[in-house]
Symmetry: C2
Subunit: 458 residues, 2 copies
Amino acid sequence: MRRICSLFLFAASLANAEAVDWLVTARYVVSMDANRRVIEHGAVAVEGQRIVAVGTEADLAHRYQPKQRLSRPDALIAPGLINTHTHAAMSLFRGVADDRRLQDWLENYIFPAEAKNLSPDFVRWGTRLACLEMLLSGTTTFTDGYYFEDVVAEAAKEAGMRGVLGETVIGFPVADAKTPADALALTEKFLIRFHDDPLITPAVAPHAIYTNTDDTLRAARALANKYNAPLLMHVSETKKENDDVLAKRGVSPVKALDAIGFFNGRTLIAHGVWLDDTDIAILKKHGTGVAHCPSSNMKLSSGAAPVIKMLASGINVGLGPDGPAGSNNDFDMFEEIDLAAKLQKLVTMDPQSLPATVALEMATISGARALGLDKEIGSLEPGKRADFITVSLGTPNAVPLYDVYSQMVYALKGSNVNDVMIDGKAVVVNRRVLTLNAPQIIAKAREYGEQVRRSLAK
Amino acid sequence: MRRICSLFLFAASLANAEAVDWLVTARYVVSMDANRRVIEHGAVAVEGQRIVAVGTEADLAHRYQPKQRLSRPDALIAPGLINTHTHAAMSLFRGVADDRRLQDWLENYIFPAEAKNLSPDFVRWGTRLACLEMLLSGTTTFTDGYYFEDVVAEAAKEAGMRGVLGETVIGFPVADAKTPADALALTEKFLIRFHDDPLITPAVAPHAIYTNTDDTLRAARALANKYNAPLLMHVSETKKENDDVLAKRGVSPVKALDAIGFFNGRTLIAHGVWLDDTDIAILKKHGTGVAHCPSSNMKLSSGAAPVIKMLASGINVGLGPDGPAGSNNDFDMFEEIDLAAKLQKLVTMDPQSLPATVALEMATISGARALGLDKEIGSLEPGKRADFITVSLGTPNAVPLYDVYSQMVYALKGSNVNDVMIDGKAVVVNRRVLTLNAPQIIAKAREYGEQVRRSLAK
């Protein structure tokens, strides 16, 4: 009798079921919405580029008639991970000079390697390699600062990834700009070209306070505000940066930047390792976001950022792996989530600090807020872009499962990511990246590796 | 002409080529021998349980005629990773109570969960799950302290894994022993039963100085020495442990233990977070090994162990993931290697401290020395046990490759492990574990998860 009933209800429901492009179902949906809903036997309905509904499979299966179904009964669905700071094309310099002091690493390896090797083609293949790796570890949005950023944008779109991308503005001649003015001109072209792009948010990206003049930084702020674009910059990454600015100007980098109006608009600073309480108050006042990079800060001996204080003050803190050329050396956001939690537990000596839920927030909704994109991404809610991942719960490291947040943060790996949907498109299915030619990218990466090796041997 | 020549040489060589069980070839062999040889286009020849030769593929292919070949032209061969501290069967408590203070976690979750759930069957399935996860992330030897340790040994042998295993001796009634005396009696049976086992090194494992009397610790030392077994114990894990011992005895745990002769024999202490210079000198004098557990020490806010000082003093330091019930929450040695390097770079503020080579040593040859097993395992050398892994170099995170140690430590993942050989047997081939029934183990782990959840709800 119940069977007949449910069949009747099913038939009835189909009659007025709404057509959608996708119905994706899983054992759990980790929404990261305002109520932090975790829906068991959940589903996400997608129409076009956006989520139309998030609920139980039972409910959505009746309300929607999908063109395509993705059924993952032994996985969870989570918002796509948001990388708030990296240098994607540096994938081709992965581990080229590890375990060295920052200045030695930069001046004797990275800057020469870049001077001798950078080209649009290098950046295109480096970004493709990075996208391949990011997609296979669950990243759907990445925030990048490098050179030939228009090529980075083309490669990101080709990969089907969302990017917040800024052409580096730096006070010495680089591959695609002789002067900061040239770089700002390139940036404006870039802002115009990718204005209103569904995947690319063009940004303005001065490198740092110690590699740019105040005039360049003011011009960068003005340019960002002219196009309501985010301004991205490395700030207070090392003690040396803070000490040098203090010696030169008598204040911290943040106070020096505040004095020239640098934070008056959309801003995301990377690192913020050496922020003091006044700096934090200034960033909070301006709604500036912070990209926390635990792997990079540890590997380069930069220090441990005051993340707990930043979060307590209400600053939106995201996570980033930084570049793979010596800071990390990969793009795996699962490791940054895990390490962000563990690093704060160590420095505060309190195992309750930065719990799993907060660590996952940093990689999703808080990262979206830090980028000013939280109306579009960062959680699974009707109206938002359909950017999400499925993560397998059927592997040895995933069982048993007592708490879905704990499992996601401390036990699951990038390699457990099974599928990736971005902007309503299935980009990865069963760990196959549909948008990129993996064997060709890996072969090209090796060719470039040989070229870089030869260039440094000279 | 050269072709004919080489064919002739090949034919000639086969005539007096030595028969062996296995010839495993790869792009690189990372030997971790005294000269830290890295052999490009290398090979390892295996006869029975042992390595008979390590060299170039060209050389060994001429000298040996193998019954079986494993060809991995796009991978590296490295010694199997050695886990020097864990509690394998706690896999069934993975993440049962995270982000809590140690005492709350132990007294309100772990001890009650153990009291209500531990049984030989629980330990068997928990250890099987742990072995499955350890094998798939490249661990060939694990060092364990738990209950029903004879069952742990049976499960390890069934999985084909090498284990240094000790029945926990602790000052309150536990599942398999009412008193420390009962636990020591069980231990002696265990030492006799697994004496001369090819895979199992039975050990004596008092839990800690704060959970055992001096008499028990003296008896444990005497028992270990009677069978020349390693003595394993948690020492100076937390500041509280050090403060309590200091308050009670006026000295550090290491000094208190030295005073009762605890270190007079094979000893491996876990953690050693709060060791001072005198403690380090005492451990060095006795040749005591230390199991460093960076993930656990960070997650539980125990602190950062003085690893650089220990290494400088010549102490053999290995790595361990600790238990997955709240300390980690997995068994991935690749993450411990990466984190060991990054943690020391952070605490010393020197990016040159604990370079990649040293981090990999800790997970291989130094770990073997810490266990007193370096004549048998820890490097790829003729005469040693054939315990090694192949790690794929063909994945996006593995290219380009500039330095094989850097790649292994900072870029490669447990999920890149492709094959595992232990004691001359192929245990994992192409990520398939040949010795264990993965689907059955995962199903059982979930059943036990439900049982544990119900037991804690009561």
